[in-house]
Symmetry: C2
Subunit: 400 residues, 2 copies
């Protein structure tokens, strides 16, 4: 049974290009529910909640809601704040003070745990609350769901980016045949693996894919790169920022040297791997580090991803109205020749620390490329083919 | 008077997203000229010419030509090769062997000098040749022309990228309020300055712009960043890869330390500036380094840029047919309320080393931002407004 009262919604963790679509889904569905009175946005997530910093979302125009669907980052502001056990008393007190009966949090693993804890805290204090999580992360490492809103658009960006830099690298010929791109994902390789969606023909970049789930040695990297260069005349590599060696050490480790100020000089993953390649092959590797662009490049939104993010917001409100709490909206892929996902409701009771890694069967035996199973999984999520490009048929002119 | 014979066309230097549009312009116009027989593409620029590596462009399909208009990088392959004085004999010999009477080279400063030298070498040897240059560079540092094909699209990418990472940075609030983006352009600040086209309202990123033409001290950078952070709550900076100090030293300089192999650890510009900021303000600065994506991200092509690149190719063929040689097609902006450029023909006699820097009046007095004059100059080149985004009107809910 639905309860009358106010709603709060917040956004948490690293933004995506579709996190606002989930917000719009929540708002639009809330506007349609007579039980819901105030529709309040928490500014900067749980911090805004604790400080009573709310914005009145009922007063936003239809145009704003429409444009938010293609606006990157978190319109409400986001936060990296680990909720402390002692915060829950304050949180429930805020709910009581503002008559908040509906709590929606759009975020990743930590935020989903927060939703569960908030739901439990209210229950323990006898406060009637519906807390529902809306999944969000470009890392795609959330449990319970086939994939996570935010991933498809980031995957589309990464695939486009590696294809573009791949065309550039191939054009350079021997003036610059080695290229690395560092891809986000500290523990899970999903987004790096998505670089494979750039390929259209045999031999297309990326030629190598290194993910945290498949450790590699310096020697393997150098050999892999050399072998791809020998085969194709150039080599483009997608490297996860979390790529690591078999002994567990990250390539992103510090160099162990100090600068003029006595501070340690830190080298990024691609910088370190570029150096390994140069040491061992004598060839210079160039690199791209698109970093935060991967999660904010709204021009490359996947329409599938945007729609699913929106639906997740809508369904979260419906679930709450139906009496659910301590749950998250999940995406469940349906069997069939066409890609289709339905939403379901998953319990958050065991969500804490349930990071979902790239399954081993999505990577090849050598651990340096994806399998067809991964391509089949990920292809529909980027929302249609990339912009069509041409290649010359290249009919040689007879030599004179 | 036109001469009967074959045509060669090549692409040189760093690719752009519209360098193939210029190629298509040359091919389409050549197809319409009865004087022109073979239409040959030099593979990897002047190297392909010297080696007699030509591809028959008459055999490419209409679909390929159409799609090349939106395909990044150099479809013929490019090269970084400084033509030696001794090469000109070989070049003219190739022309004679293949009855080449029309030579088109799509490139930057060095390539335009090559066009001139090739034209002069043919003349000196009494060989009737028409050599015409088609301007290309994302750096926009070519002399003679109002701007250069390739710049507008790269500028559109940089403006979009800084706006996207700016939305992301603002959303993070105090969880990550400082962001740097490294922009290409080793000597000229045009592309870095174009980051300013991201702004729509007062206070929008980029908050600071550092270009090679305006040296800055470590102290100024730290003070600038601190002051913008104090004013806006976050700070996004566009930094040229060629940014330098007043004494001429580049921020990109090596760290002066050695790694385990005894090799010098090199730090990029943004890494160095991030460190300077951290040393002096105690705040961590994050960064993006989109590198080669700036010149290859065809999804962000400027339609104005693409059209001008195409027209430059067309006009190069027309100029050659009309008897011109040792010249380059230039873009000349016309007076009037609407943006319009016509093409003209410029002599390449003095093009060598004529790099065009960002004029001082396009930067403010402090040397850390552009002026309105630059905005007026650059705005039309990116081909229309960026994707519309929303911001919340943000009506605060009264505190309880």
């Amino acid at each position: 049974m639905a309860i009358q009262g106010n709603l709060v919604v917040g956004q948490s963790g690293g933004p995506t290009t579709v996190i606002n679509s989930s917000l719009v889904g929540v708002v639009r569905q809330a506007l349609a529910q007579p039980e819901i009175e105030g529709i309040y946005g928490m500014l900067h997530g749980i911090r805004g909640l604790l400080d009573g910093e709310f914005t009145d979302l009922r007063q936003e125009s239809e145009t704003t809601l429409e444009l938010l669907m293609q606006t990157p980052a978190s319109a409400l502001g986001t936060v990296r704040y680990k909720v402390k056990p002692s915060d829950y008393d304050s949180i429930v007190a805020v709910f009581e003070r503002y008559n908040v009966r509906y709590f929606f949090y759009i975020g990743g693993n930590d935020s989903m745990d927060t939703v569960y804890q908030v739901s439990e805290a209210a229950k323990a204090r006898g406060y009637d609350l519906r807390a529902v999580g809306v999944p969000k992360t470009i890392d795609n490492d959330l449990a319970l769901t086939d994939h996570c809103p935010g991933f498809g658009s980031a995957a589309r960006f990464v695939a486009s980016a590696i294809r573009n830099t791949g065309y550039d690298t191939k054009a350079m010929g021997d003036s610059g045949p080695l290229k690395l791109m560092e891809v986000m994902g500290r523990n899970a390789g999903w987004l790096t693996a998505a670089a494979a969606l750039a390929r259209q023909e045999e031999g297309d970049p990326p030629h190598l894919i290194y993910v945290p789930e498949c450790p590699v040695s310096d020697e393997q990297i150098a050999n892999d790169v050399k072998s791809m260069y020998d085969r194709y005349g150039y080599c483009v590599v997608a490297v996860s920022e979390g790529a690591r060696r078999a002994d567990g050490t990250a390539f992103a480790a510090s160099t162990g040297v100090k600068d003029a100020f006595g501070h340690e000089v830190k080298a990024g993953v691609v910088e370190t791997i570029a150096q390994i390649i140069e040491e061992r092959t004598g060839m210079r590797a160039r690199f791209d580090k698109p970093a935060y662009l991967q999660r904010s490049f709204a021009e490359l939104q996947s329409p599938v991803d945007r729609d699913e993010a929106y639906r997740a917001g809508v369904e979260a409100v419906r679930a709450a109205i139906a009496g659910q709490s301590g749950v998250m909206i999940t995406l469940v892929r349906e069997e069939g020749p066409e890609y289709r996902c339905r939403t379901e409701i998953g319990s958050l009771a065991n969500i804490a620390n349930a990071e979902r890694m790239l399954p081993r069967e999505y990577m090849n035996k050598a651990g340096n490329d994806v399998t067809q199973a991964f391509i089949d999984y990920a292809r529909p999520l980027i929302g249609g083919p990339l912009l069509p490009y041409a290649r010359l048929a290249n009919h040689p002119v007879p030599k004179r």
